[in-house]
Amino acid sequence: MRRLFYLFRETWANVRANRTTTMVAIVTTAFTLSCVGIFLLLYVNLRAAAGWLQEDIKIMVYVKEEVSRDAEAGLEETLKGDPAVDSLVFVSKDQALAEFKTQFPSDSHLLEGLGENPLPASFVVTLAPQFRSPDAIQRWAERVRTMAGVAKVDYNQDWIDALASLIRYIELIAIGVGVILSTAAVTIIANTIRLTLAARRDEIDILRLIGATRAFIRVPYLLEGSVLGALGSALSLGILKLGYELFRQQIGAGGRFAGLENLMSFFPVQVCVALVGVGMGLGFAGSFVSLLRSGEERA
């Protein structure tokens, strides 16, 4: 217990002894992590937006003209039983015609000259969430296309592909920026801890000579790095939240993107806690790097 108290006290003493350096390290780490956070926030919001957009993706399964009512019902049963299908709506030939007339009233005369209704009956299918990736949609469409009574399967492939590519690019940028700036954060904290280590060189030597284990010597510095990382991360979340709210207000004030602010979201509490944990981990890594470089492992 006394040992634990000593370790915490030493950590606090380290922080206090290097107040300016500590503050600079926290603020620099916070701004560095904020840059990562911006991309992460963008990624999270785009993923959410992509999710809503993909929910809206409807696949049209057109039924062949010559198919009987029974065969149509059979096809409906088969599709309903497919685990990839979340929901489906049957649109009869008459309903298709009525919809056409509603949507394009000025063009409805085009169909009048044809006599018989040329529009096919169809099933409007929404796939289950786990089957909404571009590859899964394509595989499903190809499978259904071969079913008896199916004339054609239609969906907007280009739109799905473009959306998936955009998300992939943002993901790659977020990972790239995250790795580079996280390394920067580790370096900032490593340098701060190196200053502390240099200032306490004699103390470390004394501890070593009186029989302190390597863990005992290292813990205060690892704790200090972790605290710096966690505080930097927490501050970066504060900066991000502030920026996020200002941005939302700006959008909500009117203009072309008005209304979009209601669709935007900040990180949920669990993610915030996880990000503080990540900051703590980066700080720990920074301290560890410094301890290794300082040759603290020497006997």
């Binding site: 006394r2 003493a13 004394i206 501890l207 009186i210 302190a212 006997a299």
Partner: protein, 222 residues
């Protein structure tokens, strides 16, 4: 208690110690004499595993120090108290906290720490200064604090490297008396010094090193 067999240590091909063989029994008080650069500090550092010999073997309490793994060395050091010429006290910690450090490192309870630190400070006659910071103490007082820190966990061996190097003759005599008292309680004491006055004060076994080589043994005062 301490055995060295043909121990040699080289720095840039120059021998700091050359084939030293030495045996110190439990409870002995030995003076390690020799001019600066004779290899005294190197020998003491080897006993606590801070240096490794290039040749030979070192046994402390029957354990071969040269074969210890790095993680075992702290446990060896906990059995050996060390006193330094430059005291090596932590300037921002009180006398009490400095002396308590070896006990904290070992995970002693708060009650044990209070009791043992008080005993150690009383033994070196500096209990009344326990709240003060080392920089405000005299050189003699700082050395007493250093000795208290070395004996606080009841080590089986006490090593002192030029413990009187920064002290005047009166303080030197006081410190040597302290070592004698500690030795009288059963602790094996090995004091490295270049000061011939210390030899006259101690009147015990003397091992002399000259350029890393052991000279024939003599007895102080003889």
């Amino acid at each position: 208690m301490i055995q060295l067999f043909h121990v040699s240590k080289y720095y840039d091909r120059r021998a700091a110690l050359a084939g030293v063989t030495l045996e110190i029994d439990k409870g002995e008080f030995v003076l390690l004499m020799g001019p600066s650069g004779a290899g005294k500090s190197t020998l003491l550092r080897m006993l606590i595993g801070a240096e490794q010999p290039d040749e030979g073997q070192i046994l402390v309490q029957g354990r071969n120090v040269t074969k210890l793994k790095p993680r075992e060395i702290p446990y060896l050091r906990r059995k050996i108290g060390t006193v330094f010429q430059d005291f090596r006290l932590l300037p921002r910690k009180s006398v009490f906290d400095n002396v308590a450090l070896p006990l904290i490192v070992q995970g002693a309870s708060a009650g044990d720490i209070r009791r043992k630190v008080t005993e150690a400070l009383r033994a070196v006659g500096i209990e009344h200064k326990k709240e003060q910071l080392p920089p405000v103490l005299s050189a003699g007082e700082q050395q007493r604090v250093c000795i208290a820190r070395a004996i606080v966990n009841g080590p089986v061996i006490l090593l002192a490297d030029e413990p009187t190097g920064n002290l005047d003759p009166n303080l030197t005599a006081e410190i040597i008396e302290l070592f004698k008292l500690i030795n009288a309680r059963g602790t094996t004491v090995l004091v490295a010094t270049h000061d011939p006055h210390v030899m006259a004060m101690v009147n015990r076994r003397v091992v002399t090193l000259i350029h890393g080589v052991m000279a024939p043994e003599q007895h102080a005062g003889v």
